[in-house]
């Protein structure tokens, strides 16, 4: 059994209003990749956010008192902190240069996923433009999926991913922030193991496992390959949601 992940070459720079599904269809076709039933497309968050125009300019933001206090403690720009707070349910941890929050979408990440790298060049040479996460990444993934399915007469999955830090270990990991048409979590509890004993584990975070693998070849910003085509995902496709992957706070011993 093989899993093949291909970073789609020559994907254009994305601008607000662009049709991501259309760009993917052109780029895969140009690369000689024929989308088939069961394939999955993994998309970097930044292209979806840019297409949706999820931009904010720091010059237009007035920080609240809470933001000013937190800016003082973290050494961050108070307007940036205000923006992070406006995208978050709560602040979990902070220290100099670090601000970890529970995003409104439910997951835990630094700076509510807000970033300004790669935005500047498109909108004038300013580092005041910030890129926010898509408003509803599951819905974004679904819309892209439906258009590609319609055009290609296939049944596929679509994931939107971002690079997240984590507890306990160094380095970032590609992580799902939205998906459609595929499982986030796969429940193997009750399956027999090699010797016929029931497995005591396991719910496998199949979506996040794929996100991590795809992130590996998605390339960092300098390489510009924000879409990865996946063939050989080993679990049946079904409807799915980011929610499967989010541990509710009351079940989480590390929040």
């Amino acid at each position: 059994m093989s899993l093949t992940l291909t970073a789609i070459p020559n994907f254009p720079l994305v601008k607000p209003g662009d049709d991501i599904a259309g760009l993917i269809l052109s780029a895969t076709s140009g690369a000689g990749i024929e989308i088939q039933d069961g394939d999955i497309l993994v998309l970097a968050q930044k292209i979806v956010s840019k297409a949706e125009g999820r931009l904010a300019n720091l010059s237009e933001i007035t920080p609240s008192e809470q933001a000013l206090a937190l800016a003082e403690k973290t050494g961050k720009d108070a307007r940036m902190v205000e923006l992070v707070l406006s995208e978050s349910n709560k602040v979990l941890r902070y220290r100099t240069n670090v601000l970890i929050v529970e995003h409104k979408l439910g997951f835990v990440c630094a700076n509510a996923g807000i970033d300004h790298s790669n935005v500047e060049g498109l909108y004038g040479n300013s580092d005041e433009w910030m890129l926010l996460l898509p408003k509803n990444p599951d819905a974004s993934a679904e819309a892209i999926r439906r258009k590609i399915e319609y055009q290609t007469h296939t049944r596929i999955g679509v994931m939107i991913i971002d690079s997240h830090g984590r507890a306990w270990r160094n380095g970032t990991l590609g992580t799902v922030i939205g998906l459609s048409g595929m499982p986030g979590l796969v429940d193997l509890r009750g399956k027999p193991d090699l010797f016929g004993f029931k497995l005591k584990i396991t719910q496998v975070a199949a979506g996040d496992e794929l996100a991590a693998g795809a992130s590996l070849i998605m390339g960092q910003a300098s390489e510009g390959t924000p879409v990865v085509h996946v063939r050989g995902f080993p679990y049946p496709l079904r409807e799915g949601s980011l929610k499967e992957l989010i541990r509710p706070e009351n079940e989480d011993m590390f929040r």
Copy 2:
């Protein structure tokens, strides 16, 4: 750019004393896979542990007072708790059926990675046999790597992985517990992004990203494909260690 992960078919059941490198060479050869420079082999922890005879039988264990107290609070077998404590630096969290520790190897996981599924059939029909993690997984990976490199005249990487739960999100993720000949962490700080601005992030947990992707097709126990061959790892190989991936406790805000 493509990354291809292939679960090697027909890998035999492993017994204490088995030569894992030899088994991999036979199985890859049998599957028509020629190992090349830059390839990576990802191994499920259980086959390395079994080959190294890392077994303990609960019937031979006398629980300490600490283990008895913790068993009472978690509802776990006190002898199992004793075994977990003997493999751990400290207990981080517990509740009914849950025991999260910092393993002596430095990482955080449930039950110190000790498991009994898949052991029983080999050693009589008893669920008293427990499988511990390899004593020094970096060294285990290196020994396997050296033998395969010698036999194939190649320069490769080897990783040993396990399925770990995590903070904040549901489901387990394939995670590195030892590696040799490849980076765990890749430092991209200071690289320019698409527009020539310096990337503010990022240290990428490349080893863990690959572990997660490989875990996806490693198959669960019922399928028995504990070795995954990887071609197309996008970063240069170098010497490496699990230590790169472990965040020291004094830098960890969630331990």
